[in-house]
Amino acid sequence: MAKNVLVELSEALASAAEQAGAATVLVNARRRLPGSGIVYGADLILTADHIVEREEDITVLAADGTEIAAKLAGRDPGSDLALLRLEKATSATAEPASEPARIGQIALVLGRPSAEGLQASLGVVSAIAGPVRTGRGGMLERYIRTDAISYPGFSGGPLVDASGKVLGINTSGLARGMPLTIPADLAWQVADSLAAHGHVLRGYLGIRSQPVEIPAAAQKALKREQEVGLLIVGVEADSPAFTADLMVGDILVGIAGSPVTNSDELYSHLNEERIGKATPIELLRAGQPKTVKVTVGERKP
């Protein structure tokens, strides 16, 4: 081919697809069309949870054409990610991009839904949004949208940049069939947790709550304008909240120095790092501010 800047761009894209494609595998774990996955570690495959419909009889088809038996190592339906452990290791590990995706950046969506080979489509990063409730008790802090076509069976495959580095994991299982991408840093966090514990660790307080308006006088006592807080309507026996003497009728207004106005905000603060740590929780009790230290527990999967 005669070299021009267009040919060079084209070759760079094809090489990016080839490089990332070497770590993109077919995941055969449901009755219908297979899905895709990426090689996260030598014997670990990161894929979309919703394409893993059975826990046994899972096979993975690597880029070099070898078929390897796999077992479910862990799953997190909340972020629609699952980790599979291969019976024997494969080569070419997927490499996450060092920088987060930028709007307008050229990106390739890759998948391997059939034994015929790698599939790809081209687009740009269209939007970065979130947080979003995922409907399976999960919360996705951020997600990426692209205008590249997601072909059937692309769930679990990577979104890659022009140098073949992984920007995120694509799935159509989180937003009623609409394809979106879980950013690489979040996906790797979940995968690390799945590899270590088999599930994602989430913090636990042991309260039930509902949002309530905060009276003007109480806001004055709080010394800030916060119109809504979380009224505690239930405390589970022997829970961290119970031990720290949180009471029904308290209004939770902040955690670890940040105001809390809805349960999503509270949920996103109760991440893995918080578990076992004494965390200051700011309350309004009888209209007066009060800070109580609660040692965050671990939510049972």
């Binding site: 800047v5 894209l13 697809a17 494609g21 590249a148």
Partner: protein
């Protein structure tokens, strides 16, 4: 900023050149009473390649880029690979350059044609997959080119070209609304060679050979 402008200039230059070169070889083929397809000038002496499904029962009419309208003669057709070869009486036409090999998945491609009758439209994308398909005929299985470049009725018979302006395939199908299928140019080359050797080496479009007409 200066570097960026400079880069965009050369990229646009390459795109301009590619589009101009291909559009001069792009024709409109009218074979049915309604609608039209696309075709490409395969050979400067007047051989036009298009899809089999573009030519109908009527005598096909070819509209060149310079608006010359020529009656075409059907030289050969192959329903199995959806290709047809036409001949028009013209000389010194701008012919296309076929690519020497199959493209790689991820390569940039440009589709030329007349979607919904809009003449000379260009759309772009990449090679999405190289699937194999079973034909109903004698060939058995074929490798096709799937692309995410959007196609519409009127793109049929038009070329899919790479960044160097070489034809990698002939656009033939739209599957499921967002998957476009092209026939690899190697099959087209083979089809043309067979068609011409069946007619003898002396290819004279101005003297119709009845045996070549199917």
């Amino acid at each position: 900023m200066k570097d960026f402008l400079n880069f965009s200039g050369t990229l646009r230059g390459a795109l301009d050149e590619l589009v101009q070169r291909i559009q001069s070889s792009l024709v409109v083929v009218r074979g049915h009473r309604f609608g039209a397809g696309a075709g490409i000038i395969w050979d400067s002496s007047g051989l036009i390649l298009t899809n089999h499904h573009v030519i109908g029962k009527h005598t096909p009419v070819v509209l060149l880029q310079d608006d010359r309208e020529l009656e075409a003669r059907l030289v050969a057709q192959d329903e199995e690979v959806d290709l047809a070869l036409l001949a028009v009486e013209a000389a010194d036409l701008a012919s296309v350059q076929p690519a020497p090999s199959l493209p790689r998945v991820g390569e940039m491609v440009f589709a030329f044609g007349h979607p919904w009758g809009q003449r000379g439209y260009v759309s772009s994308g990449i090679v999405s997959a190289l699937p194999t398909a079973q034909t109903r005929g004698t060939r058995g299985s074929l490798t096709l080119i799937r692309t995410d470049a959007p196609l519409a009725p009127g793109n049929s018979g038009g070329p899919l070209v790479n960044g160097a302006g070489e034809v990698v395939g002939i656009n033939a199908m739209i599957v499921g609304g967002d998957q476009s299928i092209a026939i690899p140019v190697s099959l087209a080359r083979e089809f043309v060679q067979n068609a011409l050797s069946a007619r003898g080496p002396a290819h004279t479009p101005d003297r119709p050979d009845p045996k070549g007409v199917i």
